[in-house]
């Protein structure tokens, strides 16, 4: 499982404060904790508060890399913020550009721009592409799969290796009115998207979004995570510091025969994703 740790995000109060005050220790401690907990990549999101988002991205990347070698996932919807992060990130170590839709009304070529940036940065730089286009986030299964098919097709035309492509079918908060059909739709979409190419693109989700505003957030997250893994999800952006969630992840992977069972399977899981 490719686990992307979500905690270095300006939407969290402590991170927002650390960015504002240039407090390296808070960020480096989060990096250490997430690495120890088993993060394969660490997401880096400056949030919305920083006036200079590109500058904040560079400061975060440099700060993390001073003490930690876990590869980073540069998280922004703005190509210039990603580009700023790419200037300082250790791309040889691997990285993810998180994320781009297929296209936007304001920018038809945005996915191409991300692929160009990734290619320029090197062969270990991956992309998360959202099943979303200029019409917004699809609500049904078929449109999700159709957008994913266009993403895969565009990547192949450009010679962008599908193993470097992560498709995120966009999980919506279950508490939103009429959204309860969405988790089931996501599973059905994963079932189909993984057959779009050989090798298949990776499938990832921003798991915590599912439980936004709900009670029992951790429970909702981890039950859906197990369900999605059983449908072929092989990556997720999660709170790696949620121990119960990580135990479910380890167990679901073991039950799907992704890891060879041993009596110590839980204990060693965190060290297995490096």
């Amino acid at each position: 499982m490719i686990i992307i740790g979500e905690r270095i995000n300006g939407q969290f109060t402590n991170v927002k404060k650390a960015i504002a005050e240039k407090d390296k220790k808070v960020i480096q401690e989060l990096a250490r904790q997430q690495t120890e907990a088993g993060a394969t990549y660490m997401d880096v999101n400056v949030g919305t508060a920083a006036a200079d988002q590109a500058g904040a991205m560079q400061w975060l990347v440099e700060t993390i890399q001073e003490t930690c070698s876990t590869p980073l996932s540069l998280d922004s919807q703005k190509p210039d913020v990603i580009a700023a992060g790419l200037k300082v990130v250790n791309a040889e170590n691997g990285a993810i550009l998180n994320s781009t839709p297929l296209n936007r009304k304001s920018d038809e070529e945005i996915f191409d721009k991300y692929m160009d940036m990734a290619n320029q940065a090197g062969p270990k730089v991956n992309i998360i592409a959202l099943t979303m286009d200029k019409n917004g986030v699809p609500q049904d299964i078929d449109t999700r799969v159709a957008v994913a098919a266009e993403i895969v097709s565009k990547a192949m035309e450009k010679g962008f290796d599908t193993e470097r492509l992560f498709i995120d079918p966009i999980i919506l908060p279950v508490k939103v009115p009429n959204a309860q059909v969405q988790p089931g739709n996501i599973l059905a979409a994963i079932d189909q998207i993984k057959y779009l190419s050989e090798p298949a693109p990776h499938m990832t989700i921003g798991l915590s979004n599912l439980s936004q505003g709900a009670t029992e957030r951790s429970l909702i997250n981890r039950v859906f995570l197990a369900m999605a893994i059983s449908h072929g999800l092989d990556s997720a952006i999660v709170d790696v510091l949620d121990e119960k969630l990580m135990n479910v992840l380890a167990t679901a992977e073991m039950l799907m025969n992704k890891q060879i069972y041993s009596d110590s399977f839980l204990k060693i899981y965190a060290s297995m994703n490096k």
């Binding site: 097709s153 192949m156 035309e157 599908t162 190419s197 050989e198 090798p199 890891q259 060879i260 069972y261 041993s262 009596d263 110590s264 204990k267 060693i268 060290s271 297995m272 490096k274």
Partner: protein, 322 residues
């Protein structure tokens, strides 16, 4: 849409392990042996991905074997009581890349020899040959725990491969192997889950995963080789998939297992062809089968079988980066 590239590639690799310590590294070996390093399945991918050549470790017993068939006794008849000379013969005449000293004689049922005997044999073999050694206990836990730490000490600093440790009996030998700078053999009874667990247990004691070689147990042709094959194959695939707890090179015991088979040794079997050929063929066939599953070190006994296997390895791995 263009036709996608479907060549199999893997992210993981089998660990490279270098056995033996020369003078520069604090030992007395004249040569070292490196195994492992494969980044694909056997014969899969490019030659550069095939890693180091598999090697043959020839068995030398600490005491005269009581139950060996004549065909197997014949090449060693002058040296069966002299482990040093026996080892020398294996290296100089039969091309053994490693010598595996098998301490059957310390088992309570087959001699019950003491630690002093085992230490003397170890020293004799160390003095007689320059290749790295494999030091292998008798499988009787209590006796191995008494004797093998002394054997380990007698070969301290030589970077031997010593074993075996199991899920139920790993602590003393793991600790002493670590202290004496040896490599460790972790053993499992044809059970991949236990195999992984033993590696974790040894690792928990601080033993580096990069210094472990796994022994999954072996079955010879006709006697469970398919189980051994599928486990070896699964271990290789797990290593290639990035499972660090399963990324060790593998050793198998083809010599002992092959010569237990009645097909290998029964003299009075007219329909089966000459017994002088049958045993070596049985041993060579078993070894070649397991080579294809991805084993790195093969323990063997008959010189003709060894020659056949080495010939095959030299042809098939000639383009590897070894």
């Amino acid at each position: 849409m263009p036709v996608p590239e479907i060549a199999e590639s893997f992210t993981g690799a089998v660990n490279r392990v270098t056995l033996g310590a020369t003078k520069e590294n604090g030992g007395t070996r004249s040569s070292t042996v490196t195994v492992g390093g494969a980044r694909n399945v056997v014969y899969g991918g490019s030659p550069a991905e095939s890693g180091e050549k598999p090697v043959v470790a020839m068995d030398v017993l600490d005491s005269r074997p009581e139950d060996w068939p004549d065909v197997l006794i014949e090449p060693y008849k002058d040296v069966l009581d002299k482990p040093g000379d026996w080892a020398k013969k294996c290296v100089e005449e039969y091309g053994a890349e490693l010598i595996c000293v098998k301490f059957d004689g310390i088992h309570p049922d087959t001699g019950d020899r003491d630690a002093a005997h085992a230490v003397k044999v170890t020293e004799e073999v160390l003095n007689a040959v320059g290749v790295p050694l494999v030091l292998w206990g008798c499988g009787y836990d209590e006796k191995d725990n008494q004797v093998m730490p002394k054997v380990s000490g007698a070969a301290k600093g030589e970077n031997c491969l010593i074993g075996t440790v199991t899920e139920d009996n790993y602590k003393s030998l793991t600790a002493i192997a670590l202290a004496d700078s040896h490599f460790l053999i972790t053993e499992a009874p044809l059970d991949i889950n236990i195999a992984k667990q033993v590696n974790i247990l040894a690792s928990d004691m601080g033993f580096p995963l990069e210094r472990i070689v796994t022994f999954q147990s072996t079955g010879a042709l006709g006697y469970g080789i398919e189980y051994a094959y599928s486990i070896q194959e699964r271990q290789r695939l797990a290593a290639l998939g990035g499972d660090k707890m399963m990324a060790m090179p593998a050793i198998c015991d083809v010599g002992y297992e092959s010569w237990r088979a009645k097909e290998a040794k029964l003299a009075d079997a007219p329909g089966w062809g000459p017994v002088a050929d049958r045993g070596p063929m049985w041993e060579a066939s078993s070894a070649i089968c397991l080579l294809q599953a991805g084993v790195d070190i093969i323990r063997m006994r008959h010189p003709r079988a060894v020659a056949t296997v080495k010939n095959l390895v030299n042809q098939m791995w000639q383009n590897s980066n070894a």
